[in-house]
Amino acid sequence: MLKIWNMKQKQQSDANADAAAGNKKKKVTAAQLRVQKDLSELELPRTMKTIFKDPDDVLNFELTIEPDEGMYKGGQFHFTFEISQEFPHQAPKVLCKEKIYHPNIDLQGKVCLNILREDWKPVLNIQAVIVGLQFLFLEPNASDPLNKEAAEDLRSNREGFKRNVRQSMGGGIVRNEAFDKVFKTRD
């Protein structure tokens, strides 16, 4: 049997490294460690905040976005973040909790954002995803639609689209579809 311990001893005397171990208890997983790092480096603008139902579970949380400019100004949108043990190899799963009228978010809350799917890379972090979501509210994108009708409205009649956005945000009906009221209540 190959004596890999001898190699370790050699490596240790070479580097004089110190390491310690023993019978360990529960260890922090690599995914948790990366999320911890991402969260502790998070820089959120005033328009966004995170909500943790359970502070001990950093892999599941909610993000609130309150755009202060653009067509969705005055709204309050909630997104759930679900991060797996494969993070950062796999992107976080992000869903919009409200039913909203938006070309890149469908009626079930699925979000079409390239870095959440085809362009996700392990070097990206939670901050990048959050910035991406913020961007969707400032610049809805008609060329990558998930809600085809909304995209069509945005393309063909920008003013009409704006009116539809306001209508839907107030809980109104647009194109026979009732939307959730998302205007921020004054408190």
Binding site: M1, L2, K3, I4, W5, M7, K8, Q11, D18, A19, A20, A21, G22, N23, K24, K25, K26, K27, V28, T29, A30, Q32, L33, R34, Q36, K37, L39, S40, E41, L42, E43, K49, T50, I51, F52, P55, D56, V58, S84, Q85, E86, H89, Q90, N104, D106, L107, Q108, K110, V111, C112, N114, R117, E118, W120, K121, P122, D144, P145, L146, K148
Partner: protein
């Protein structure tokens, strides 16, 4: 000194002596060759050590690996697999018969190989690798994995690395990992089925699976908007049915990939959509393949990788030839364009979250408050922390950011360490000033914790 040679085509009719099966294997083990290591020992005693080695095979490479290990002279083999035999396995998993459908893969495979190779003991474990604890893994000399998910690989990797204890030579378990899903080397195309890799990890000594995580190609994803608006391929229609139509219509409470009724529903949806967009090629089996993320496995690729893993195990165990490991540790195989293999050394990463920073022991007084503990950390030379955030495995002690988490964990600052974590627990510390480096400490209480009255 001449070495006996095995010549192809002259496989002798097995003699009836019980040990004839091992004749050639014994020749290899009892003769020094040009590549045998300096420590190679041909004595009876040395040769018989292999009989006592305990090896563990985990997951997918299953039938091939078990057969290879048993025929390579390993006598004490454990196999761990949570799967049961499905009728679709029978075309390539040759240890299973139709009557075995529904039974545990580990158990059926173990009984079959034990029956065919006399003198080998195979112990099946019909469970997840995560169900076993450190004591279980400590008993093995070599661990061979053919796991099919990154999550399972990461788990096994970190478990074996955390076993490594410089005081205990037995705690260093060579990890041999084989995979036939796609592996990506920059610049090469990513065709499936003919590619694989085998690699060897010597815990804390050489690059670990976490260091090599970027070698895995991410699953190819199609933009959601393509699925929603302009499908071009039959797969797009199936993914649409799977991700979008299912949730809109919810034909059944929960999607079960193994329920033919559910797959049929998806197939019909996908077919209708394909017709609408004039796309051909949606079939039931393609639907099944896309939904279950089946990467077309080519039986021979699987066999090649399993055999390569077994050979490395044999060389590590016997020292007859240099193995993958200390120098070169990664062998990639591709049969896409003729045949190509490349073996190289993947360097260990100093900032690897698993093997880069092993948890160091840290003596603490459990009666310190978390606040006092954090202040004491700032004084430690190696840490130099400015804004440390601290978590234990299932407990967030203190996070500096984001605001909501800081507010929720702030009350912990006044609590005593002993109240928040147990003696021997591991904590991880991150700090923006550390860059990619993290610290892990294993807390050792040097005083008794006195709970506040």
């Amino acid at each position: 000194m001449s070495q006996p040679v095995m010549v192809a085509g002259t496989i002798p009719v097995p003699a009836l002596e019980p040990d004839s099966r091992w004749t050639y294997l014994d020749n290899v083990r009892r003769n020094t060759g040009p590549y045998t290591s300096e420590e190679f020992d041909t004595s009876d005693e040395a040769v018989s050590t292999m009989d006592r080695l305990k090896v563990l095979g985990a997951g997918g490479l299953g039938c091939e690996l078990l057969k290879d290990l048993a025929l390579s002279g390993f006598k004490d083999i454990h196999v761990i697999d949570m799967d049961t035999i499905d009728v679709s396995n029978l075309n390539r998993q040759f240890l299973f018969r139709h009557s075995d459908v529904g039974k545990s893969k580990a158990e059926v495979a173990a009984r079959f190989v034990e029956k065919r190779v006399k003198g080998v003991s195979i112990t099946p474990h019909n469970c997840k690798i995560q169900d076993k604890d450190e004591d279980f893994y400590m008993q093995f000399n070599i661990v061979i994995c053919g796991l099919d998910s990154i999550e399972a690989r990461r788990w096994m990797n970190s478990t074996l690395i955390n076993l490594a204890d410089p005081e205990n030579p037995e705690s260093y378990k060579p990890l041999i990992d084989g995979g036939t899903e796609d592996c990506q080397i920059a610049g090469l195309s990513t065709q499936l089925g003919f590619k694989g890799q085998s690699r060897v990890v010597f815990p804390t000594i050489t690059s670990c699976l976490e260091c090599q995580l970027d070698m895995h190609a991410p699953r190819q994803a199609v933009p959601l908007c393509t699925l929603a608006t302009i499908p071009r391929q039959p797969e797009h229609c199936i993914e649409w049915a799977h991700i979008i139509a299912w949730e809109q219509e919810q034909p059944f409470p929960k999607l079960d990939n193994d329920d033919p009724e559910h797959i049929t529903w998806l197939y019909k949806k996908a077919l209708a959509r394909a017709e609408e967009f004039k796309i051909s090629g949606v079939t039931y089996s393609l639907t099944q393949g896309v939904v279950k993320n089946i990467i077309p496995a080519i039986a021979s690729t699987n066999a090649i990788i399993a055999a390569s893993c077994c050979n490395e195990a044999f060389k590590i165990a016997t020292q007859t030839n240099p193995s993958l490991g200390f120098e070169e540790n990664y062998m990639m195989y591709s049969g896409n364009d003729s045949i190509y293999t490349y073996t190289f050394k993947h360097e260990k990463k100093d900032d690897c979250p698993v093997c880069g920073q092993l948890a160091r022991d840290l003596e603490v007084d459990p009666n310190f408050t978390l606040q006092e503990f954090i202040e004491s950390l700032a004084e430690r030379a190696e840490a130099q922390l400015k804004k440390p955030s601290i978590r234990a495995e299932s407990h967030t002690l203190y996070m500096q950011s984001p605001v909501s988490l800081e507010e929720m964990t702030r009350p912990n600052l006044k609590k005593k360490i002993g109240e928040l974590v147990g003696n021997g627990d591991e904590i991880a510390i991150t700090d923006p000033s550390l860059g990619t480096v993290n610290f892990k400490y294993k807390l050792k209480f040097f005083k008794e914790y006195r709970a506040a009255v």
